[in-house]
Amino acid sequence: MPLDLLQEARRQAEICNACRYCEGYCSVFPALHQKRVFTDGDITQLANLCHNCRGCYYACQYTAPHEFDLNLPKALAEVRRDSWERFAWPAPAARAFHTHGTMIAAASVLGFALLFLAIRAIGSAGGEGFYAALSHNAMVAIFAPAFLFPLASLAVGLRRYWRSVGGARIRWAHLVGAFGMVAKMKDLAAGHGDGCNFEEEDRFSHARRYAHQLVMYGFLLCFAATSAGTVMHYGFGLHAPYGLFSLPKLLGVPGGVMLAAGTGWIAWLKLSADREVGDATAWGGEMGFVLLLGFVAVSGLALYALGGTGAMPLMLALHLGAVLSFFLLTPYTKMAHGFYRLAALVRDAQRKQETAPGTGNEATA
């Protein structure tokens, strides 16, 4: 199966290499046009570089019913997802979640249940606020491994990725280049900056790009809020609950709102997009991931709003349960995309540096 996916993407890449009409859209084509023969690693790198903006699909004169049957965004999306499944450690976990939204839902319910049980069994050790429902030590006992394990797993996956695409030593300039692309999500704007073709065939729009940046920056703010809380707890002996003008709240509340709004927007856009121009088999898993992420945000905000009421323990179990599942599933769901895509952009920054401008294939103009 993976061989077929790679082979199909290779077939299409070879057609694009003879055509080159899409060269201006994104980072994929300049990288593609530097090769004549595509190894499995080359195809994997191109796949992870592709942002599924779909510009090249709607611009292509060879899409079905044409016999060349081009659908590069789909072919690359399938290779990409397959590469995440192959590189993940342990791989069976990735195969279970990437393509199965129901498995993500089940894992989330399991997370809730675990937290309910924990709250029931361990309960308060006489703490205040949330710690009245679940002691701080119990939270750490649950979340420290749930945070570290996925990180270790991702490290293994990324190492495998880096080997497969022939990555070189990473330098500061490569990181600057890659983060520059991420910060503006340039490849979702197309080369002309009009956006991608997601919601309505060939219409260009920035909706997906903006929604993504809401999610991404919202997520990073939430993450920063949690980190700030941890530092305040251990570093300064300042314990939750924090006031509205504390760092965790100042970062967390806007972050949560952005994350909630952004995931809702992405889910909505995803409903109108043509599934066949992406990895249709993974649609459920992707949607599951988006909704879980949204649920983390909404339950976090609800917890904040209902923190002083009797609903608090219930909300705490739901929120922490969702966070727990989200963390644990990170290497095995669409959440892995951020890490692999970042790696692909770093690799592409290296490629750009390796080849001075103008040394493309210009043998016979």
Partner: protein, 461 residues
């Protein structure tokens, strides 16, 4: 029945869309009748990549300048003077204002593609190619209120004295008749009608491949010519190039081009060489080879290269046929093996000093005492594995068409037809008597499409 539309535009490619948008902006109610289904809309225009544009200084993606005189001189060179100077200069001069107009109507440009540096100054490349141009135009046209009917094949325009009285077309199995005030014909050439090509070229034309849309069958063109509308050009004139012989019969597009001829020897099916493969750089020779191959038995040629030349040209869509010996290659390609070896050996023996070999310049590395000679890039074919491609004639578009004046208006012997205009491929013969200049097809369509739209709207108002 009177029509709810002022103007019917026949065709759904670049020329048709430029006409429709211009007319709609002038206030006309416009209907586009496109014979192709939506997925194949846009005719040959969806296969294009650039248009040739005059410019006095840097303009959009174009560097330096490209003035009217240089542009016209380039045109004279390729057409051997067979061009209507007035119309040609009109097209050239107007091309400069087309670029910003195209951008305003949704087209986006990109820097010259890798492998096409020689065109960076003269040709503006569409980002995503012609289909993205066509997509953008359809969106803009629809936002201007233009109605589009797909799978609407126009079968007849009724010429009544000096005006078109009605338009017949079929749609969803039924025949319809409309009576617009004005009609713009932008339905391309007749290259996809093999029978018509055969009438002009003889049976050889059955082996021609059609590089673009299967829908340009010249139905409207034939219908109008039969009714005495003035024609221009000769039915054997067309833009034809040598392409990969394995390309599909229709619609193979750009990816079927082969750039390896200068580094090869080319033989016919009897394994005999027939022309100087190294006469000039390929962009200046690929059109000639379309005709050369058409003149060979079965209208087919075979390109033979060896391992050292494989990476010297742009990759193409089909991998070459590969073999360790010349005999094996001949077998795989259906050539007489002994003859092929003899031809290659004769060629190799005629090669001399190859130290000056330079793949992108005329290097003068030539054969001596060989007929026909190879005057550049002549390196012996010795290094296995050997590679082969078959070559066939690929027709881009035909030149026989409707004769128009500088307002894109059609006429009969007795004078102009009051409400009939033509644009694009279907009237390109008015400007191109023979030969072709890369990117000029889209220039003609854009310039004359806009003129036709303007004139028709003024008439209908």
């Amino acid at each position: 029945m009177t029509s709810q539309f002022d103007i019917a535009v026949i065709g759904g490619g670049n020329a048709a869309l430029c006409a429709a948008m211009t007319a709609a902006e002038a206030g006309a109610r416009v209907l586009i009748l496109e014979t192709a289904p939506k997925s194949y809309r846009g005719g040959n225009s969806r296969h294009t990549r650039n248009f040739r544009c005059m410019h006095g200084g840097p303009l959009g993606p174009l560097v330096d300048s490209y003035g009217e005189e240089e542009y016209f001189a380039d045109l004279l060179k390729v057409t051997s003077g067979k061009t209507d100077e007035g119309l040609a200069r009109l097209a050239i001069r107007t091309s400069e204002e087309c670029l910003p107009w195209m951008e305003a109507h949704g087209v986006r440009f990109q820097p010259s593609l890798s492998g096409t540096l020689s065109l960076a100054r003269t040709n503006a490349f569409f980002m995503g190619g012609g289909k993205s141009l066509v997509n953008a135009y359809y969106r803009t046209a629809e936002s201007l209120g233009v109605e589009v009917l797909y799978e609407a094949a126009v079968t007849h325009l009724e010429l009544e004295g000096d005006r078109i009285a009605w338009v017949d077309y079929t749609h969803e199995g039924a025949t319809h008749r409309i009576e617009p005030k004005a009609v713009i014909v932008a339905s391309g050439g007749f290259q996809a009608d093999t029978e018509w090509l055969t009438r002009a070229w003889g049976p050889a034309a059955e082996n021609f491949l059609i590089r673009g849309t299967p829908y340009n069958r010249g139905v409207v063109l034939a219908d109008l010519l039969e009714q005495g509308v003035s024609q221009v050009g000769d039915p054997t004139q067309c833009h034809a190039v040598a392409i990969d012989g394995r390309a599909p019969k229709f619609d193979g597009g750009i990816v079927t081009r082969l750039d390896c001829v200068p580094f090869s020897i080319v033989v016919n099916k009897d394994a005999e060489r027939f022309y100087d493969e190294g006469e000039d750089v390929w962009p200046k020779r690929y059109a000639i080879w379309g005709r050369l191959v058409a003149a060979q038995p079965d209208q087919v040629g075979y390109v033979i290269i060896d391992a050292k030349s494989l990476e010297l040209f742009m990759p193409s869509v089909f991998p070459p046929i590969k073999a360790d010996t010349l005999e094996e290659l001949a077998d795989k390609m259906g050539l007489p093996p002994a003859k092929l070896r003899a031809t290659v050996e004769a060629f190799n023996a005629a090669c001399g000093d190859t130290s000056a070999f330079h793949p992108t310049e005329l290097d003068g590395v030539a054969t001596t005492g060989l007929e026909p000679p190879k005057t550049n890039w002549a390196r012996p074919i010795t290094e296995p594995p050997f590679y082969g491609y078959s070559l066939r004639t690929g027709v881009t578009f035909t030149y026989l068409g409707l004769k128009v004046d500088e307002t894109a208006q059609c006429s009969t012997e007795s004078g102009p037809i009051r409400n009939l205009w033509a644009a694009g491929e279907t009237m390109a013969g008015s400007i191109l008597g023979q030969g072709y200049l890369a990117g000029f097809g889209m220039t003609i369509g854009t310039v004359f499409g806009r003129i036709a739209g303007r004139e028709a709207a003024a008439y209908a108002a």
